[in-house]
């Protein structure tokens, strides 16, 4: 470990200059500089959206964005973090909604203000085509929005920059919830299993299993049939196991 042999360079954190070794993520570079995070740090694995960071590098006019826990610190980079973007979440009751084409625009009418400037897509750290999913939202294609936005981590970077003041991640979240609840079918078999459990179909076997001593339990355990990993259509030799034991 230690820092022998590591090359150091400067970065500017909220305007202040620090020397940090190469090879660290922005997040770790800030920690090396002495920050103990309260904000801008959650999963440390690129999935929670807490650490969105904006920066410029020398010689480029561009204001870039990245997740601090994923992107490497670069020499002379000037960074600032925006852990919170106040976003607009409309009030709705999912159960009462229907998957009609105009529903997203009814709940979030500001989507019609989109200027197609593509700023959102350019900044998204998850490389989502945000402008495209907003376009599909305007067209009313809920399923398309759901799939295109699936990797959104709600970092808010797009919403912070949108000239039309759209909170894209909340439009997408609504689309996904409508898709999951009202477009995908309720899974077959699930209701049946729940009512079987409620009516006590497994009660006896579970009660008996909970009363077994360890040795007896092990004997039952090793009799389980293993469903093969590769087979798509498989039928166990004894579909009544372990009910049939009791």
């Amino acid at each position: 470990m230690g820092d022998q042999g590591r090359r150091f360079f400067s970065i500017y954190i909220f305007g202040k200059k620090y020397q940090v070794p190469e090879g660290l993520t922005i997040q770790k570079a800030m920690e090396f500089a002495g920050y103990q995070f309260i904000r801008s740090c959650g999963c440390r694995g690129g999935i929670c959206g807490a650490c969105f960071t904006e920066y410029r590098t020398p010689g480029s006019y561009q204001l870039k964005g990245a997740l601090a826990c994923q992107a490497l610190a670069e020499p002379e980079m000037r960074i600032t973090q925006s852990p919170f973007v106040p976003m607009h979440r409309a009030d709705y009751h999912l159960e009462a909604l229907r998957a009609q084409p105009g529903i997203l625009g009814k709940i979030y009418p500001e989507i019609y203000r989109c200027l197609q400037c593509n700023t959102c897509t350019r900044i998204c750290p998850m490389e989502i085509d945000v402008m495209d999913y907003i376009a599909h939202a305007i067209r009313g294609d809920i399923e398309k929005v759901a799939h295109l936005s699936f990797q959104c981590i709600l970092c808010g970077a797009c919403a912070a920059r949108c000239p039309a003041e759209i909170s894209q991640p909340y439009v997408a979240l609504l689309a996904r919830r409508i898709y999951g609840r009202h477009i995908l079918s309720l899974p077959a078999g699930l209701e049946q299993r729940i009512s079987d459990i409620k009516s006590g179909r497994y009660h006896r076997v579970l009660e008996r299993l909970t009363q077994l001593q360890i040795e007896e339990l092990m004997r039952v355990y090793i009799q389980r049939e293993q469903e093969p990993q590769e087979a798509d259509r498989w039928v166990p030799k004894n579909p009544n196991f372990p009910e049939d034991l009791f």
């Binding site: 090396f32 440390r44 709600l154 995908l184 459990i197 497994y202 579970l206 909970t210 389980r224």
Partner: protein, 514 residues
């Protein structure tokens, strides 16, 4: 697959839980005599962040029926069910609402809904995974509620993976005799958490962020009656009084047990265990930590981060430096981690990574070969993206992995309604223990947090209707410290709970701290 006897031998020789010197006994309080990892024992001997006399318990900032501490999946579920049962509910959390281990879950959630599956098989698998030591009545609750939970999540709009005919897609995790894990690509935790968070907002439930609990408050009958919090920005301490309290503070990965890296989020620092222990809540199996066999070993920036078990469920194999497969893909995590450590430490067949760490190969390209081209993009988009950032294409190249600290198998002892041994204090999720015995199966934690979050939420809400809170007290904190002092083990330099890990300065270079 290994026999039960072979499993036991492998664990005893190579599992970190069995390593000499890694654990020690708790010296004071209700859990005296329990063995826990040293890193946790240290916190149990530290001093409270609440100094006696510094805080006026007659001055409460807010009063609620149900106080939920912890804003992950367990806390969100508890809050939703408590509020639905009519209780005035408040969610408090240390970081942002949703910053949690829940949001990081990749693989999925178990529920026995398949045609040839049943709650009874789920029961057997869960006990076999836990070394047959799980508390039976808790597992009974777990497997019986599983389909209800899945249905609840579907109705909230969670986009679970489906087959072409619309049926739920199920896959394998280690230790399962049936395909039973339901996923939303490798985003399962994120997908569920963002939906639950949205629902909590939609229901108008109040959420207080960046305000960790630093001690529980009891009344004169030693029933839980609220908590002391600290505002992380201003340092202000304040009291919230509640008729019932639900602790859902998650796990302990960031204690880096035995120097292991971890898959856990930044706030997984055992706070709930520390404050509940002081308040007199019993623990179970806290000597048992889960090490996940496939933590990332390279590149260094991703050290310890999880590579989903679902890869093995989808046919990827673990192979050593000589290209030999050394363990069956569907063995449980404790076994697979032990086998990996044996391969590297004992058989010397590991791989040295470009940065000098140990690892073995997880043959990810096999997924594309066996399950068809495009499978990785479809099932593992997040992991593909994460490695791609570092120039590694996991559809073509295998990845280097090594065991990483993943999960606390044990925790606070609860009954089937989620209540701890302290009256009116409930616990839900990773902070609780018993249901998984000494080793949790993949997909059973997401299930656990919702099953017991729901049960705790409903029970805490109905209990709250009858409760009249007595006089608030922090005597238990003072007594606990006095007892430590008498034994000469009080560690004044350690503030407990830890709240935030310290990775500043040179520590940022430590490889385990990603």
């Amino acid at each position: 697959m290994l026999s039960l006897k072979e499993r036991q031998e492998l664990l005893q020789r190579f599992h970190p839980d069995y390593r000499e010197g890694g654990r020690r006994e708790i010296r004071v309080g209700v859990n005296r005599g329990e063995r826990v990892p040293n890193e946790l024992a240290d916190l149990f001997e530290g001093i409270s962040l609440v100094r006696p006399g510094e805080i006026d318990l007659d001055h409460v900032r807010q009063e609620v029926d149900v106080l939920v501490i912890g804003g992950g999946g367990g806390g969100a579920a508890a809050a939703l069910f408590a509020a639905e049962s009519g209780a005035k509910t408040l969610v408090t959390t240390k970081l942002r609402f949703g910053d949690s281990n829940t949001i990081m879950a990749e693989g999925g959630i178990q529920a026995a809904v398949g045609k040839f599956d049943s709650p009874a098989l789920h029961y057997l698998d869960t006990l076999g995974g836990g070394g047959f030591q799980n508390l039976p009545h808790l597992v009974h609750a777990l497997v019986s509620d599983a389909p209800v939970i899945l249905d609840w999540l579907v109705r909230l709009g969670v986009m679970f993976d489906r087959k072409e005919n619309g049926d739920l897609l199920a896959s394998f995790a280690g230790g399962q005799c049936r395909r039973r894990v339901h996923s939303a690509a490798d985003y399962t935790g994120m997908e569920i958490m963002r939906v639950l968070r949205d629902e909590v907002y939609g229901q108008g439930i109040e959420v207080l962020e960046f305000s960790p609990a630093v001690d529980l408050v009891l009344d004169e009958k030693r029933r839980c009656a609220g908590a002391v919090f600290v505002d992380l920005d201003t340092g202000e301490r304040f009291v919230i009084r509640a008729k019932t309290v639900i602790l859902a503070t998650g796990g302990i990965g960031r204690l880096h047990i035995q120097g292991f890296p971890t898959t856990n989020h930044y706030g997984a620092t055992a706070d709930g265990l520390v404050i509940a222990n002081r308040a007199g809540a019993r623990m179970i199996f806290m000597d048992s930590i889960q090490f996940h066999p496939t933590g990332t070993a390279y590149p260094e920036q991703l050290m310890g981060l999880l590579v989903s078990e679902a890869f093995r469920g989808w046919s990827a194999q673990l192979v050593n430096g000589e290209g030999e497969r050394f363990i069956h893909e569907l063995e449980t995590r404790d076994i697979t981690s032990s086998a990996t450590i044996r391969e590297v430490v004992d058989r010397k067949k590991g791989v040295i990574t470009p940065t000098g760490m140990h690892g073995v190969w997880l043959d990810t390209p096999l997924v594309e070969i066996k399950k068809g081209k495009g499978t990785i993009h479809r099932i593992f988009p997040h992991l593909f993206h994460r490695f791609h950032t570092y120039g590694i294409d996991i559809t073509k190249e295998p990845v280097l992995v090594y065991p990483t600290q993943h999960y606390q198998n044990g925790g606070l002892l609860i009954d089937a309604s989620g209540e701890t041994t302290v009256q009116n204090l409930f616990a839900a999720g990773e902070v609780s223990g018993g249901v998984h015995g000494r080793n949790r199966l993949g997909g059973n934690s997401l299930l656990d947090i919702f099953v017991f979050g729901r049960r705790a939420g409903m029970e805490a809400a109905s209990r709250a209707k009858e409760i009249v809170i007595g006089k608030l007290s922090l005597d238990h904190v003072i007594e606990y410290e006095e007892e430590l002092e008498r034994l000469g083990v009080l560690k004044r330099e350690i503030k407990a709970p830890l709240l935030l890990p310290d990775y500043r300065y040179e520590k940022a270079l430590g490889r385990v701290h990603q």
